[in-house]
Amino acid sequence: MEKMTRVSGTVSGCTMFCHLDAPANAISVCRDATQVVVAGRNIFKIYGLEEDGFVERLNLRVGRKPSLNFSCADVMWHQMEENLLATAATNGAVVTWNLARPCRNKQEQLFTEHKRTVNKVCFHPTEVNMLLSGSQDGFMKCFDLRKKESVSTFSGQSESVRDVQFSIKDYFTFAASFENGNVQLWDIRRPDRYERMFTAHTGPVFCCDWHPEDRGWLATGGRDKMVKVWDMSTNRVKEIYCVQTIASVARVKWRPERRYHLATCSMMVDHNIYVWDVRRPFIPFATFEEHKDVTTGIVWRHQHDPYFLLSGSKDSTLYQHMFKDASRPVDRANPEGLCFGLFGDLAFAAKESLMSAPQSVGDVGRKTYPGGDRRYPIFFFKKPDVTEQFAQVSSALSVFESEAGSSVGMDWFINTAQSYLLSGKPFAELCEHNAQVAKRLNRPQESTTWTMLRIMFSEPANPSLSSNHNLNKSGNLPLVNSFSMKEMSAALNERNKENRQDNLHSLETNLNNNDENEETEGSEGQAEYLFGDAELDDDDLYSMEHDNQAEEPEYLLPQEAFPLRHEIMDHPSAPEPVQEKPESPHVSGSEAESTCLTPMESFSLISVSQLLFSPHLPPKFFCPIVKEMLCYYAEQGDVQMAVSVLIVLGDRIRKEIDELTQEHWYMSYIDLLQRFELWNVSNEVIKLSTCGAIMCLNQTSTTLHINCSNCKRPMSNKGWICDRCHHCASVCAVCHHVVKGLFVWCQGCSHGGHLEHVMEWLKQSKHCPAGCGHLCEYT
């Protein structure tokens, strides 16, 4: 308690910085948190930490031509003796400094026992005169400051030492990290052999730090971008936490008074300082983003104060960071996650508070996994802890499993791709076939679209159809190929089961058509799916039809209403889709909509009574609508439909859509097909496409380079004669004539010839026909 009050009394301040003259390599604070020492290649200074800024107290770099002993790789301020500092020099010297010396040069002792750069020095936390150093030459040395030489030397077996740290709790223990990825534990009394060794990282371990409170915990950071926390208290060293950062970890320091927090900075590329909660390894708890170049040294200002962090950097600045000014990445993180599984399963993770809401409708098949489920370790559970500053994030993970055979999978895509006909038959038949396919696969909208296309683009068989009688007849034909608008509606009715016409007629006779509509037997389903399911793209068609309708003299229609209806009703070959429909989920929902939508539309259109178009509509007329429809499908993600229609329509529509879009659709569709391994379909699509860029796709990597069989040089010219040795290159080994078609050769001896010759030969003999003695195999 006494400690804490002192802390709050002495440490205060704000986020502040000062410019140094040179890049810093390391920093260290004195015990009472009032001064900081900055060391680097060309700098060695002590700054005082004032309320509102840094104040330079002392420049230790003295002398006209400073020696390399001043070029520091590391510095440490003694935590017991406030006048004592130690530095590690890049030339291999270990230097101690006594600030109490009266002269300008504060250098006290110089140890030049290391042969290579010294990477790290470390004072014993409680023993005043004990100093440890670790060097590139692979040795660690322990110095007694009262003596002129090291008291003991520890050998890391020729691997460079990157960090050494005395254990805070165990008087005799220290840890050393190495360039080869190992960490060793030594007993200071036994210089002959390490106590323990384990491999912590792949590649160099740049740093390690003992937990200030927990006896057994050691944090290590390496070039492999990981920070690992090891529990050393057990017999076998155990990795208990692992944090993955985005760059190699140069320093790691436990945060005081916060059991699970540590600060890291990186060696290259990334300039930020991160504070991690080791239990939340995916997102930093806090980030300090002030530095403009890599941070080289970090240190908590006071060993019992978690709110102040000091850092030095290559950008020649020294910063004091306040914890309250840190940015908290977790605030900006999206706490929800959503992912599709391979077989249509859907996993969804969100905050528990959200997930605990009453289960909504349609939750069939949902399984909730509490965070601890081992199969889905995406989020972990945490007991609420009042002392935690982290936002409460217990998340729940739900997995929605798709029922077997449900439509979530992509089976329809594969089936459709395989069953669609894209070429080889007259246009109308293709459309008809594809409509059937779509219908069979329970995709009414696509089916309707195909039928519509057939109607719209079929060649007019008899160009002058104007009488109502004609219309009636043609309305009964299964295949409509004329384009007077009467027929159009009739043809539509073929699918609609005349419900629509019914509506139209009833509308014109009496606007109150609902009753009649319902009376139409067996017609609801069909009507619904036209209006409910396919409303988006069919709306356009409808309005157009209505326009046509409007141009007809009104009195014609009422006359026809009944006979027409009857005829169609009687028609035996009319498709009966109602029976297929009942399980469709959309049916029930859209019924009301369809019935009320129809009269409204008809009503509004009926007012447009001018004659807008000639009775015979050229196919071109529909192009804008079809184009819109294609775009609609493509945007809906059904690029299959868009491309299939594009291919089937061919020249009828191609010019309407710009090349790039087409190419884009083709590419997407081909990509999809190839992912589903539908190579044949994909190749067919490539073949049928009209875009240059697509067509050349199946011509890539089809070149086979051959060498002349005679002179072994590459055949450069086309033809069968090598232009170097003027021999025929590919001669059949059986008949000795040049092979100009299929050439088959043995991969063992590379002799071969005409396919049929070789086949015949190998029936009789096992040996190569060329007489080389190789036992060829033909499979």
Partner: protein, 473 residues
């Protein structure tokens, strides 16, 4: 006596021998290397399985001369091939034909027709853009933009700055992404260094490579364009056998003695800072003088390889020149391969860091504890001297190294050789190769070459990667 005169004497000797009726083969010498007798190389290769597998994939059983020479150190060869293979064949930011073209550009800087031919052939096999092979002006502007850093890295890497990187990376039609640039830089450094090795060990061109058709034919005429043929036209037999030379016997002993003394002296060598600095400067300065004179201002002979060279007059200049403002010394501790270079290169071109790291380590740690006839010798001091001397010539200084050691351990002839091989390898002669370490085995001299090659590559990479780091921050 300067180098030119030597060679001419050689030529004269040869002509005399020829007049005596000595039979000259068309190929300069048989076997993989013109410096090393064939029987030293063949059969000296206990390769492990994975290396063999690599070789099979690369050459379908038949190894090129370079691999055979390097095969004297199979352990290293494996690391080398893995890296080489990864750079040229495996996934990477650059398309395959770019890689080979960059290799051609890099090798052409040192007029190394062996490597140029090899990669011209590989380029042809890819079968695209073969008109690029007609010369630099036929390749895209994007590749031509690399010329600047190619020549700087090849000859004076310390001049590379972040402006060079900026010019390549800045957005525009011909810009490079950082990942592509790193790949290109690694390729450049790799092939510059490899050219050093090829010349340094006198690797002969592969016969089948020089005889390929098309463009290659006029690039690689049988007469080995671009090389002064006189030093290569020695047959192996006509020379004195260095091992039998009596007056060099003491040389090895002296070297061993010096090494031992240095080891002892180290303990009580209290050289001041000033002193250490002077020693580095002295070594740096002295490296100016070890040049075999007579090559200065030499005009590069027009050779077919020259079509891949832009600004051929740009050559090595000494890092430290008298009476000029020298660029600041590169402090090795401030930008090391292990800490900085690795992280950067691995970030931008994944996995290459590990392969390069492995290669550097293998080269530096490779030892058989042998020195000529002596066994059980710790050669680390000698290896470090070689490595650091190369870096010294490139202006890279290690704070923790006493450059006095270089002076003690490396005799003048060796320094001449090192300087030639690393800085202008195309001038390496067989005489230089033979003039140092008379009693050492050829495999040991190849080992020296490996060290020089790796040191050079690392130096180039460090400068280039430092510039990229500066650009990124």
């Amino acid at each position: 006596m300067n180098g030119t005169a030597d060679i001419c004497n050689h030529c004269r000797n040869m002509i005399r021998e020829k007049e005596k009726g000595m039979k000259m083969s068309r190929h300069i010498s048989t076997g993989p290397s013109s410096f090393i007798p064939e029987n030293e190389i063949i059969g000296a290769m206990p390769l492990n399985d994975s290396t063999v597998m690599f070789l099979d994939e690369e050459f379908s059983g038949r190894m090129d001369n370079l691999t055979q020479v390097m095969g004297l150190h199979p352990h290293y060869l494996q690391a080398f091939l893995r890296c080489h293979y990864y750079l040229l064949r495996m996934d990477g930011p650059l398309p395959l034909h770019y890689r080979h073209y960059i290799a051609i550009m890099a090798a052409a800087r040192h007029q190394c027709s062996t490597l140029v031919c090899q990669h011209v052939q590989e380029f042809e096999q890819i079968g695209v853009c073969s008109d690029w092979l007609r010369g630099l002006e036929f390749c895209p502007q994007r590749l031509r933009n690399l010329n600047e850093i190619n020549k700087i890295l090849a000859h004076r890497p310390w001049l590379i700055t972040k402006q060079h990187i900026q010019a390549l990376v800045k957005t525009g039609e011909h810009s490079w992404s950082l990942a592509e640039l790193v790949h290109a830089v690694v390729l450049l450094a790799h092939f510059h260094a490899l050219a050093s090795f090829v010349f340094g060990s006198g690797v002969n061109p592969d016969p089948e490579v020089t005889e390929v058709n098309g463009v290659t034919d006029d690039i690689c005429p049988p007469a080995m364009a671009g090389l002064c043929t006189c030093h290569l036209t020695n047959s192996n037999q006509g020379n004195r056998n260095p091992l039998r030379n009596p007056d060099t016997g003491s040389e090895l002993e002296a070297l061993m003695e010096r090494m031992k003394r240095l080891l002892e002296e180290r303990e009580d060598d209290d050289a001041s800072e000033e002193e250490m600095f002077t020693r580095f400067e002295k070594e740096k300065k002295e490296s100016l003088l070890v040049v075999s004179a007579g090559f200065d201002e030499e005009v590069v002979p027009p050779s077919p390889v020259a079509r891949f060279v832009d600004d051929p007059s740009f050559g090595y200049q000494d890092f430290a020149r008298h009476g000029e403002d020298n660029p600041p010394t590169f402090k090795a501790q401030d930008y090391t391969w292990e800490d900085h270079g690795f992280s950067l290169v691995n970030r931008l071109y994944s996995d290459i860091g590990h392969l390069l790291d492995d290669k550097f380590r293998t080269a530096c740690d490779l030892t058989y504890y042998n020195m000529a006839s002596h066994e059980g010798v710790d050669t680390s001091m000698l290896r470090r001297a070689l490595f650091n001397y190369v870096h010294c010539m490139y202006g890279i200084r290690y704070d923790d190294y006493d450059y006095g050691e270089v002076n003690q351990l490396l005799e003048r002839n060796l320094k001449v050789y090192i300087k030639t091989v690393t800085c202008y390898p195309e001038r390496t002669t067989r005489r230089m190769y033979e003039s140092y370490w008379h009693q050492f085995r050829h495999s040991e001299k190849v080992h020296v070459n490996l060290l020089l090659m790796e040191a050079r590559m690392q130096a180039e990479l460090l400068y280039a990667l430092r510039a990229i780091t500066h650009y990124m921050t």
